[in-house]
Amino acid sequence: MTMANLSKVGLQLPTYTFEVERVKIKEFVQAIGDDNPIYQDKGIAITEGYRDTPCPPTFVTSAFQEFTGAYFKAFEELGIPLSKVLHGEEEYEYLGEIYPGDMLLCKMKVESIVQKETKSGKIDLVTLQTLFTTQTGQEVLRAKSLIIERR
């Protein structure tokens, strides 16, 4: 019996917002141990051609988690229990820099659901696509998450 409902392909989740905060960028890079000064020092960031301290490449992952609840709402809509969720792949396409003070509008959609047979049983591969746009309407990032639902 299928768990992820195939009729959910194309489902657009309600747009949510994520505010980018300077101190959260700093906390994020410090947790990773990334000492690249552009992420913490505005003066150095400006000399390198940025408007302010930009977000590091994986920062938007925090827009999916507890701060917005986006992933949880998506799995709830899809009928996937959290205990069955495995993060398979993640992809980012960078269209512009993201800076402190940006209020990102996040549009997430279920791009595809593929069912596969593996040695350990059936799995569903769910691709979630998210478009991030700033408050001025600039598209800054496209994310794709491949979630594996184990049966």
Partner: protein, 141 residues
């Protein structure tokens, strides 16, 4: 100013200088949970992880992707990075020391810019692959 990789001097098949991270700590997993909002207790509570069959807490996959992101923006300026994709392959534990490596797989000149594509991999001290992926950048002349 930091010196980025001069891709004009590199051939397809050549490797970039590896990034070697120190041992992952349990405190780091707590910091990353707070920073990223991923409070799944698999990453912060040993007994939860053990009940799920692991020997103890495991690192968040995106933390390891963050290590690769760190390496990438040491090799190329952040604003030249266009695409970054990873597949999560193995669990990472406290004590693991991750090395991030990359190899140039494509170089294509398009007018004044050079498009580069690299394969990248994050491995632990035993060579076990934690994630593999790819990134694309448009580096200026």
């Amino acid at each position: 100013m930091h010196r980025y990789i001069d891709f004009h001097q590199l051939e397809v098949g050549e490797s970039l200088p590896a990034l070697r991270k120190g041992p992952i700590t349990k405190t780091q997993l707590v910091r990353y949970a707070g920073a990223s909002g991923d409070f799944n207790p698999l990453h912060t509570d040993d007994s939860t992880a053990q009940k799920a069959g692991m020997k103890g807490v495991i690192a968040q996959g995106p933390l390891i992707m963050g290590f690769v992101g760190q390496a990438i923006t040491q090799w190329v300026p952040k604003r030249q990075l266009k695409r970054f994709k990873v597949r999560f392959m193995g669990m990472t534990f406290p004590g693991d020391m991750i090395t991030v490596r990359a190899t140039v797989t494509e170089k294509k000149y398009e007018g004044n810019t050079l498009k580069i594509v690299c394969d990248t991999v994050a491995q632990d001290q035993n060579g076990e692959v934690k994630l593999s992926g790819q990134f694309e950048a448009f580096v200026t002349k």
